[in-house]
């Protein structure tokens, strides 16, 4: 078995892993190892051939592969990163020993000084939403179908019903329409969409694809291949309302019903997960509950924009390099951040205060439901230590807030983030 050592091992070569590896090098890690299970770097970006990436990070509108190649060029420029493709991490121990498998190198054991988790996320499946009926061919998760259309050059179907209005589902509605397929409906069980507003406009409205809010799929028909789908309107408790059945003839169902951070390796290593995000509990430096393990990107929380993934991974890469160089000071104080009323989750979940360091902290917040004209507050022991007005919030669009150092530095114990309707 091949054995080697490195300062920082990065698991995953998507946008998170690429940015983390570059950042680790820039902050003095001598040897960085980047492990990617696919045959090329870039992760899911490679199948996202539409545009809309990079407006924040590169001040330019790029396609997914375009964004990936920018990130890969940065990696080349940084130098000193060993990239292993076609390589799967199959074991990870709390003392930072990674076991990998690949056709080229066989079994390999890596002793790292610090580890960045950048494994991304996976799609929720049909099983998670329990649809009665037959089990024919023609049912795909939207991302799997996207890979087949954009990377392999095959169509999953010609008459499509999309279940769920997540961003991948919306993007695929447009993509399939452009390929000559007919998208009959997008069904969303909630009374609001789970996608970005720009995707609703550019992918559905611009192509006259009907979106059915408060509708759920109740049956799939078809012996060998899907022949039709039945949906029903739901009440406020998300229960189907009898008499509202609508049937769409179709040969394909695409599921866009959510993403799950891929944390099986993290869990096996004993890293604590946040049940609200599905990702590790981290501090603002993206360090997890196990020292020397850092997490960034969709493995930590499902992001809407890759630009934020890269920004978050810059932080994780830097922290990992400092840890490997034994330059990370011990925290003086730890505060816990918690989701208060109107908030689904907050990342980071912990803030550590280190002696002589006072810096603003960027918080990623998901609200629980859509609202207009709200007040976002950060509360400590009943006192408001930070406040901001927001004209509109939606669960599908992450709220990003720069919390000034003064708002948390002197505080102790628990900080609660709440979003409530502002007084008129």
């Amino acid at each position: 078995m091949r054995r080697q050592n490195c300062d920082v091992a990065v698991i995953g070569g998507g946008p998170a892993g690429l940015a983390a590896a570059v950042s680790a090098r820039r902050h003095g890690a001598q040897k960085v190892l980047l492990l990617e299970r696919d045959r090329e770097l870039g992760g899911i970006l490679q199948q996202c051939i539409h545009n809309g990436f990079g407006l924040q990070r590169y001040d330019e509108e790029l396609t997914g592969p375009g964004y990936a190649s920018r990130a890969a060029r940065a990696l080349e420029a940084a130098g000193g990163v060993e990239v292993q493709l076609d390589t799967m991490v199959v074991g990870l121990t709390p003392d930072k020993v990674l076991r990998t498998v690949s056709p080229a190198a066989g079994l390999q054991e890596v002793q790292a000084k610090a580890v960045v988790l950048a494994m991304g996320c996976r799609e929720r499946t049909r099983g998670a939403i329990r649809i009665p009926g037959e089990r024919p061919a023609g049912i795909y998760t939207a991302g799997a179908a996207q890979r087949m259309v954009n990377m392999e050059g095959y169509l999953p179907g010609k008459e499509i019903v999309i279940v769920g209005s997540g961003d991948i589902g919306l993007i695929m509605a447009r993509r399939m329409t452009l390929e000559g397929a007919q998208v009959k409906a997008v069904l969303e069980i909630m009374p609001y969409s789970n996608g970005l507003t720009r995707n609703l406009v550019q992918c559905l409205d611009d192509f006259n694809v009907p979106l059915y809010l408060s509708h759920t799929i109740t049956r799939i028909e078809g012996k060998s291949r899907v022949t039709s789908v039945t949906c029903m309107a739901v009440d406020e408790n998300r229960c189907p309302i009898p008499g509202t059945e609508k049937t769409f003839a179709c040969d394909c169902v695409l599921l866009s019903v959510g993403l799950i951070p891929e944390n099986e390796l993290s869990e096996a290593t004993g890293i604590a997960l946040d049940p609200l995000t599905g990702g590790p509990v981290v501090d603002q430096h993206r360090e997890t509950s196990v020292p020397g393990f850092f997490a960034a990107g969709n493995v930590l929380q499902v992001h809407d924009l890759v630009d934020w993934v890269s920004a978050e991974s810059d932080i994780a890469g830097r922290s990992a390099a400092l840890f490997a160089r034994q330059l990370r000071p011990a925290p003086e104080k730890t505060l816990l951040l918690q989701a208060g009323s109107g908030v689904r989750n907050v990342v980071p979940q912990r803030l550590v205060c280190q002696p002589g360091q006072a810096e603003a902290v960027r918080l990623f917040i998901r609200v629980a439901q859509p609202a207009r004209n709200v007040r976002l507050r950060c509360l400590c022991q009943g006192e408001t230590c930070y406040e901001r007005r927001l004209p509109i919030v939606k669960p599908s669009e992450m709220v990003v807030v720069e919390l000034p150092s003064a708002a948390y530095q002197p505080a102790s114990g628990l900080l609660t983030i709440a979003v409530e309707e502002a007084a008129p």
Partner: protein, 490 residues
């Protein structure tokens, strides 16, 4: 028929019974062909059932069900190592929910003793709850049968078929029987979608279709009326709640909605018993799911419903005779029936096969066993189960064992190619799933499914668009229009 020329036997149906018969007959100096209309073996009743090897107390003494159940279980024990079957002897409990039901337990115990089932024991409430703490505390007692087991039915059917092929039998999939040729009052052959197959004997193991096949030969002495059973399968994370097979008191029509574990460690509940809308009606229904859940909750109130991963339904191939129909057709010479196979058919399969072998020996007294019979199946490589040293050596030998395709279950490209290339190899995505285990994990094939399609197309030398999920016609991907250009479209 004797002499140098081997007698020709065509077995219709590639379920557990047909495959076991092929395995048994391949021990003899016979020309054996098994035909299956689906693209793969074991795609109907064998694919969707309770996957239990029954101890043998639930069938009325004197019936064929009772006789072949007990003998079948013994044959599985005898052959499991040679064939490489996946069986766990977990034992079963028939649970009485009230004191009044305990009489029925005594009756089952008596049946079991009459059938020759060893080690049966009546347990009181405390003893049952010690075995299965998650059961309802209100139960009154149970009949304990330590010999009952759970099995991987697809794996068993495939193992039988692979061994048959290793011993010279032919297995033809995508081969639908269109008619049975009769000459001078006896069977002469079978007309199929893949051509005419001459036959001296035709064995009817066609499951829910067995009455149709029998009628093709001119024997309309029985009718198969399929009854549907629906199931809910749970994530392995919810396993451990159940360690044994747990039956309620049986009803007149079925063994009732049970709770059990699969050999792969998934808990499941079911089946109900509902009339099927047709011989291919395996759709699940809301009402059926509610019935299965309510039934299982009577035994175990605290079911982990949030951990359900898949719902499915299967058909029982029960006949109007009420017992298995095994033997020479009274109407047509050369037609041998292995029909009306409902529970405990999976358990009984090798015993039914043994009986068919005896019938052919009676027909052809000079029939001999093969001297060169190969009893053992080659071992299947499971990369994730190997030691690090074994894994390293395997990748050295074949680097494709170093490429993980199914990341949830850690299954490599080498294993997928082996599943495609071995005898009775996989031709479909679900065929790869059943042989190699791809797509059984938490992502349910979302990641590996398209990759398996591409590997299948490459290994079989066919276009990607020709690869199907499972049944004939279940195609997965279509070509983009040739020359189609979205920008220049008028």
């Amino acid at each position: 028929m004797e002499g140098n020329k081997k007698s020709k036997v065509v077995i219709i149906g590639g379920g557990i019974v047909g495959c076991a018969i092929a395995w048994e007959l391949a021990k003899y100096q016979l020309d054996v062909t098994l035909v299956e209309k689906q693209p793969d073996l074991a795609m109907e009743t064998t694919k969707a059932n309770s996957a239990i090897l029954h101890a043998g107390f639930a069938a009325r003494p004197g019936t064929l069900k009772a006789r072949y159940n007990v003998r079948g279980l013994a044959l599985y024990r005898q052959w499991e190592a040679a064939l490489g079957l996946e069986i766990e002897y977990v034992g079963s409990l028939v649970v009485a929910r009230q004191a009044a039901e305990k009489e029925k337990l005594a009756e089952l115990l008596a049946w079991g003793e009459a059938n020759g089932v060893p080690d049966l024991e009546l347990l009181d409430r405390e003893a049952v709850l010690a075995l299965e703490p998650a059961l309802s505390p209100e139960i009154a007692g149970a009949l304990w049968a330590p010999g009952a087991a759970v099995i991987w039915p697809f794996g068993a059917a495939l193992a039988f078929a692979e061994n048959a092929v290793a011993n010279g039998a032919r297995v033809m999939t995508d081969c639908e029987v269109r008619s049975i040729a009769i000459a001078a009052g006896r069977v002469a052959g079978v007309e199929t979608s893949r051509g005419f197959l001459p036959a001296d004997v035709v064995v009817n193991a066609a499951g829910v279709w067995a009455d149709d096949i029998s009628r093709m030969a001119g024997d309309d002495s029985f009718t198969i009326t399929p009854r549907k059973g629906e199931y809910v399968l749970f994530d392995r994370a919810a396993s451990g709640k159940v360690r044994h097979i747990i039956f309620p008191i049986p009803t007149a029509v079925s063994k009732g909605i049970l709770i059990s574990t699969t050999v792969h460690g998934n808990m499941f509940i079911g089946p109900n018993a509902q009339p099927a809308a047709g011989k291919d009606d395996t759709a699940t229904t809301e009402a059926g799911m509610a019935e299965v859940i309510a039934g299982a909750q009577k035994l175990m109130p605290d079911l982990p419903l949030g951990k359900a991963i898949v719902e499915f339904a299967g058909l029982r191939a029960g006949s109007d005779r009420g017992d298995f129909i095994i033997g020479n057709s009274a109407a047509v010479d050369g037609l041998v029936q292995a029909a009306g196979i409902e529970s405990p058919g999976l358990t009984a399969a090798p015993a039914i096969a043994e009986r068919i072998g005896e019938l052919l020996c009676e027909r052809w007294p000079n029939l001999k066993k093969r001297a060169d019979h190969i009893p053992d199946n080659p071992k299947t490589v499971r990369f994730s189960k190997l030691s690090a040293a074994e894994q390293a050596a395997l990748i050295e030998q074949n680097p494709l064992y170093g490429r993980v395709i199914c990341r949830c279950e850690l299954i490599t490209e080498g294993e997928i190619i082996a599943a495609i290339n071995r005898p009775c190899g996989a031709r479909t995505v679900d065929g790869v799933k059943r042989r190699a285990g791809t797509g059984l994990g938490r992502c349910q094939g979302g990641f590996c499914g398209p990759r398996v399609v591409l590997i299948l197309a490459r290994e079989l030398g066919v276009p990607v668009t020709a690869i199907v999920k499972d049944a004939a016609g279940s195609s997965l991907f279509m070509d983009k229009l040739p020359g189609h250009c979205e920008v220049l479209k008028p």
